[in-house]
């Protein structure tokens, strides 16, 4: 695997990273049960918007993809699609132990065990499921990472595209979605 080189940002990128750190739009995609803690995080009690974060309707507009929990293979195909539709720079946050190592579904025939084989994950949040406090804390961490230019999973994905694609093909067979299967 090819490693992304050390921090050598131009001035423009440093300025851009400041803006990107203070305005993170998340992709509103409830991939798993961690999504149930997102409404409290977004709404009045914990109020994510004070960090400059907010939900966005489509992947094109979003900056961060929250993988809220386990991913079945069927979902993973859509997640990869969504991720590839997002505009650079983009970040991935994995929620809960299911994305880390399969968690409680380690022996399930339908869910994957390790997310970072398929998508570059910038940050993991431990727990099942992460509490809103943990989510807010990790968003603070993500902001710091972006400010320092450490969140460069998207570069990693570009440079190791073949490695990721091979992993995806191994587990999914085919990433292309045949939505006509249902008809």
């Amino acid at each position: 695997m090819h490693e992304v080189q050390k921090n050598d940002r131009s001035l423009w990128e440093v300025v851009g990273d400041y803006f990107r750190a203070n305005s993170i739009w998340m992709k509103w995609y409830c991939t798993g049960c961690g999504a149930i803690e997102m409404p409290p995080t977004m709404t009045s009690r914990f109020d994510m918007e004070q960090l400059g974060m907010g939900p966005m309707a489509t992947p094109r507009q979003a900056d961060v993809l929250l993988i809220t929990g386990y991913l079945s293979t069927k979902t993973l195909r859509r997640v990869i699609y969504s991720y590839e539709q997002m505009q650079d720079p983009k970040y991935v946050v994995g929620f809960g132990s299911c994305t880390l190592n399969g968690g409680i579904y380690y022996d399930s025939y339908a869910t994957i065990n390790q997310l970072d084989k398929y998508l570059p994950v910038d940050l993991y949040i431990a727990g099942c499921m992460p509490r809103p406090e943990a989510i807010m804390n990790s968003f603070g961490e993500l902001i710091e990472m972006i400010k320092k230019g450490e969140a460069k999973g998207w570069k990693h994905y570009k440079e190791n595209h073949e490695w990721y694609k091979a992993n995806q093909m191994d587990s999914l067979g085919e990433v292309i979605i045949h939505d006509e299967f249902h008809e």
Partner: protein, 302 residues
Amino acid sequence: MTLMNFIYGFLAVLGAFVFQTSLTGINRKVTARLQKRRGPKWYQQFIDIFKAFSKSSITHGWVYDFGAIMALGGIAATVIFIPVAGMQAFPGLDNIFVISYVLAVGMLGMAMSAAGSGNPWASIGVSRALTNMLAYDIPFMVVVFTLIYQHNTGSVSELASIQQGVGILGWNFFKLPLGGIVSVIALFGMLGKKPFDSFIAPAEIASGPMVEYGGKQLGMMFTLHELMTFIEVSLILNLFFGGGETLLIYMVKYAILYTFTNIVSGVMPRFKIDQAVTFFYKVPLGLAFIQGLLVIYLGWGY
């Protein structure tokens, strides 16, 4: 027409953008307070727009790119014609028809660009946006024609200055209360505030025309939206609330009017598009016609 006019025009666009964007940021905080939370920083909207510009972007074909540029250009050009507290870049060119026609260039560009992205949600959104426009424009135009008939002028700055000097009761909003109400309702439709925001409804059509925008084009759309808000609020302010004698008064009035729409829309759900059209053609259009008849036959508001 000298160089000064052009410099003023440029400054007007810049000032309108800065003012309206700060106001949007403050209003995000107001909405947050309405929802019992703290809300973002007041300059969050600037960060959002600049961030969008700092991202990479892709194209969905030249119609999409060209439409976005045309929309931004058209809207920015319209801002120049808006009289602000008696100041304007090109005196004498602020006729209401000029403004509505130049504005149409921007609207058309937006529709073109969104439809050019090829996403069906965007097409539905565009068709809803145009339907919505048709809905609020007709009652609003009836009221504007009444005004023009009454004062024998189509110049926005003149219409504004006629109302000045006699205090609050000189405003068209109080002289022609029915028309004033219609215009404020139409303002909700123009700004896309709830209950008339079905064309960008995220839960129904995934933010409609904006569905395929990302990166720089999204930044352009946000800038455009701020400028368009400035045009629409200014128009209503000049026509019905007496514009402003000085820049400060204008800005204060503007802020109050915009915050009012924002607070009201904070506790409103949205109409379906057909319900919005029915509503506009029932209540505001009726009021507008009654207002017109009262002005023409009974001499109201002189």
